[in-house]
């Protein structure tokens, strides 16, 4: 337990440092006035005559961007200057510790609520993609273990697929399976044209139908890495003496593979799973924009494009937490797979 606590504490410190660095960098490198200017230029109602300088100052005050960024600042003429606690970082950290992620500049709503809404769409997408990738990877790697000819062909194909960027795969699927000129089997976008209706089963079916292409895109790009890694580990394990012993004792190929080889071969692959979940969240940026899904990825992309700092930090913080959880899950999975491992 102390080990777990230590790991969690280390991860929390890492999250705090990451978020603090992101907060300070994003606000010091970009010009808040430029953010206000781009907001104003996107506003179709504003006409030419307004006093943009005065309006910019007012909006900077509203968004809390007129205060100093940090406790201290360096000015060439005056040297170091202490600003006390009336700075943006102090205010942000205080809110964060109270569980308040701030208010989105763009949407005027609490960031926590916006992240929650986005997760409603991203969680099914990433969980389905993760489950699908891992399940298929284990299935393919174990099936190929004793089929050298098929293995060569499949690995060749997987190496080829691995070179495709996600965007290309997703567009390809869209043009192949949601196109009136080819096969219009799946919807081109979104989660349905109308509000969800029907019972639980119908809604789940509708959701699966609409998520089929996005999930398939994510599975296709994450599958090769997993299969190639797992296959390599399986091939290495199969040269070990315990495999020959098991076979000599009469265990079937399948039983040897499942009961002995896979368990040992999974160990190096588990490390990959740490990255799989955050990578899928990152990959959902492309998929959610392309398939018009209002999830975390799109929220993150739009927040970055519009310099919606509170939303951006909230979303990146969540990704950092996902990575933390993935690392914790990996640790647990290591111990389950090989009880001899002590972390």
């Amino acid at each position: 337990m102390p080990v777990l606590l230590r790991h969690t504490a280390q991860a929390l410190v890492a999250v705090w440092l990451t978020l603090s660095a992101l907060f300070l960098l994003s606000r010091s490198v970009t010009d808040p006035a430029a953010f206000i200017q781009s907001t104003l230029s996107a506003n179709t109602r504003l006409d030419a005559r307004i006093d943009q300088a005065a309006l910019t100052q007012q909006l900077l005050r509203r968004y809390g961007l007129s205060a100093p960024l940090f406790y201290t600042s360096w000015q060439p003429a005056a040297g170091w200057r202490w600003h006390g606690t009336g700075n943006q970082y102090h205010q942000w950290l205080g809110q964060l510790l109270a569980g308040n992620l701030g208010i989105s500049y763009r949407q005027g709503a609490p960031v926590r609520g916006l992240l929650g809404e986005a997760l409603r769409y991203t969680l099914p997408l990433t969980l389905l993609a993760t489950t699908g990738s891992v399940g298929l990877a284990i299935g393919m790697a174990t099936s190929l273990g004793y089929r050298p000819r098929a293995r060569r062909l499949v690995l060749l194909a997987l190496h080829g697929i691995q070179s495709f960027p996600l965007f290309l795969v997703a567009v390809g699927l869209l043009l192949l399976l949601a196109n009136p000129d080819t096969l219009a089997w799946f919807p081109a976008f979104g989660l349905g044209l109308e509000p969800e209706s029907g019972n639980w089963g119908q809604r789940a079916g509708e959701l699966l139908y609409h998520l089929a292409l996005p999930v398939l895109s994510l599975v296709i790009v994450s599958l090769p890495g997993l299969v190639i890694q797992l296959d390599g580990a399986i091939q290495q394990e199969m040269t070990r003496a315990y495999v020959a012993t098991a076979r000599a004792k009469g265990a079937s190929r399948r039983r040897t593979m499942r009961g002995h080889v896979l368990r040992n071969a999974l160990l190096p692959t588990i490390a990959l799973l740490t990255d799989l979940l955050p990578n899928l969240v990152a990959g959902s940026v492309v998929v959610e924009v392309l398939f018009a899904l209002p999830g975390m990825g799109r929220l993150l992309a739009e927040a970055a494009a519009t310099q919606d700092y509170p939303l951006l930090l909230g979303a990146v913080g969540l990704v950092a937490v996902v990575r933390l959880v993935a690392q914790w899950l990996t640790d647990v999975a290591y111990q389950l797979t090989d009880p001899r491992i002590r972390l």
């Binding site: 007012q58 509203r62 089997w185």
Partner: protein, 578 residues
């Protein structure tokens, strides 16, 4: 694992069989599905911050006046007629309106002058996000209600610009009966609300709290306007549905003007950020209307026989133009001859072909050629001519030895080289093509160009700080207002005048244009202004964009050169001829 894989395949097949035959059937109803690239984000009427939100506001609320492209002016909307204007003294303008007697709120009560007064008070209420409204409508200092007519009122405005008259009627009127049913704000005068030095009255504080408790940013349906539509469903990031009111007040008019027409029973806006996905959705009938379509997609669909059958295509000239700006404060760009020389290196015809599939309109300046009354058609269009560019550079004092760079002495007598930094927003093909084309042409005549594709906020900072020599950007205009103060007046330097250009003559012309309402005089002044800009070239207009729209063949869509490119309320379904 095999069973798992088989199960997956079987489930997928079952899903395909279950759902692949379902396709939207919208052949007879008055339901129109429109593509939006982005969500409205925030539908608080005080924070209408993007074009999607503005479109919703125009369908759910009414303002006193509305911009009409057909009339090249504002026309009465909630107002009975255009306002009567009086100049009270040198600085005050009295703008008198009367509201339409037919206009009512959803509860049947009439829209009255006190609703207008209430709206102005909300727009100046401390504690609410009113900065934008105060910036736009802060010139309205007071409202005087007519004691004898509950629908008549006068707005007291500062300034003498004719544009103030139009702007005085360009804000959504809010219902007092919803937000302040007890009329508590009636006792507070509008000027009192604007005085920041005084403590805020308790009644105002309480009102601001009530307003914010409504969370109109995500529950706009809690504040129904007097427009023809109400918000029936909004799933952020997915879709927004507007339902036509079954009994809208303008339905009682025998022959409603275009601004008071609303035909579709339901408007559903589907949010599809990606252009390729939106095109597929249109071709599959999942959406009915796709506006501001990229040129390549538009031409591809137009050339497809199947899409010619199921879609109807429209394109109209807009008031948005692509331009190359020069920072005239830079020593190398301080003279008009150099700027004119560099302008000759843009091949507009090739650019229009490459970026707009040939469908864009070259212009001599910042007035759209479609505004024939004001466009200076006697000026020559920009011509790609490197020989003239070289000659102009020589006239500007630049010298070149062999294949070396162009040099000339700067103001301090030190030699300076003609090397340019050219910035543009990254990710926009038109900007990139224009920049690359210019760079190649410039290099061919010995001018080195450093291309700087830049993220929007960084570009904005570069422009304000004067950290780039040239930039390629789009600018938006309209056929109603010709006030170039922010863009080219000395008063705009440090704010929106990023070229740093100003001359006493141009400042005077801009001021005169802004304060003139006589069309003939305005035309004369605008022609002078275009001639001056043509000679001085603080920026070079490359072309005016066309807005392209594709819609289901059954729809008749009124198109417009103003964003979003169509009038949603006036879309009709074509009745088949028997």
């Amino acid at each position: 694992m095999k069973q798992l894989f088989r199960g997956f395949v079987v489930s997928l097949s079952a899903l395909i069989l279950t759902f692949c035959s379902t396709s939207p059937d919208a052949t007879t109803s008055l339901v129109v599905r429109i593509r939006w690239a982005s969500d409205p984000d925030n539908l608080d009427p005080l924070v209408v911050s993007n074009s999607s939100a503005s479109e919703v506001a125009n369908l759910t609320y009414c303002s006193l006046l509305k911009a009409s492209e057909a009339d090249n002016d504002f026309v009465p909307w909630l107002a009975e007629a255009m306002p009567i204007v009086q100049w009270a003294d040198d600085s005050l303008l009295l703008v008198s309106y009367r509201l339409r007697p037919e206009a009512t709120w959803d509860n049947g009560s009439p829209v009255l002058a006190r609703d207008v007064a209430f709206t102005l008070k909300v727009m100046n209420c401390p504690g609410l996000p009113t900065e934008m409204d105060q910036a736009m409508f802060g010139f309205i200092r007071d409202i005087r209600l007519d004691p004898t007519d509950a629908r008549r009122f006068t707005l007291v405005c500062v300034g003498q610009s004719p544009d103030h008259v139009r702007s005085s009627g360009d804000f959504s009127i809010l219902p007092e009966y919803v937000l302040d049913p007890e009329g508590q704000l009636r006792s507070i005068a509008l000027p009192a609300l604007r005085q920041t030095s005084r403590p805020v009255p308790a009644v105002v504080v309480a009102f601001a709290r009530r307003y914010q408790a409504l969370e109109l940013n995500k529950h706009p349906e809690r504040l129904p306007g007097c427009g023809p539509y109400r918000i029936s469903d909004w799933q952020k990031g997915r879709y927004l549905t507007l339902a036509r009111k079954t009994r809208w007040w303008a339905d009682t008019l025998s022959s409603p003007p275009p601004v008071l027409q609303a035909f579709p029973d339901q408007l559903t806006y589907q949010i599809i950020p990606d252009a390729a996905t939106a095109t597929l959705a249109l071709r599959r009938g999942e959406i009915d209307l796709y506006s501001l379509m990229p040129a390549a997609e538009f031409v591809r669909l137009q050339q497809s026989a199947a899409d010619q059958q199921r879609l109807r295509f429209s394109a109209t000239d807009s008031y948005e133009f692509l331009a190359a700006s020069f920072d005239v404060r830079k020593s190398i760009l301080r003279d008009a001859l150099t700027r004119r020389a560099l302008s000759q290196l843009f091949d507009v015809a090739a650019l229009v072909q490459a970026t707009q599939q040939g469908a864009a309109v070259p212009s001599v300046g910042l007035i759209s050629p479609r505004v024939k009354a004001y466009y200076h058609d006697s000026l020559p269009l920009l011509r790609f001519d490197p020989t003239t560019a070289v000659s102009l550079l020589q006239q500007a004092g630049w010298q070149r030895r062999g294949a070396g760079p162009w040099t000339r002495p700067n103001a301090q007598g030190q030699p300076e080289q003609l090397r340019l930094d050219l910035s543009y927003r990254t990710g926009e093909p038109a900007y990139e093509t224009a920049a690359r084309q210019f760079s190649a042409a410039a290099r061919a005549v010995g001018v080195a160009v450093n291309l700087r594709p830049t993220e929007q906020s960084v570009l904005s900072r570069q422009l304000r700080a004067g950290a780039t020599d040239m930039s390629i950007r789009t600018f938006s205009g309209n056929p109603f207002s010709y006030d170039f103060t922010p863009l080219l007046h000395s008063r705009g330097i440090g704010a929106s005048n990023n070229t740093g250009f100003s001359l006493p003559a141009s400042d005077e012309l801009i001021d005169r244009i802004a304060t003139t309402d006589d069309p003939a005089r305005k035309a004369r002044l605008l022609r002078q202004f275009q001639l001056l800009l043509h000679q001085e070239r603080p920026f070079t207009v490359l072309y005016f964009l066309r807005y392209r729209l594709a819609a289901a063949a059954r729809l008749r869509v009124p198109v417009t050169g103003l964003k979003p490119g169509y009038e949603a309320a006036r879309i009709r379904v074509e009745v088949p001829q028997l």
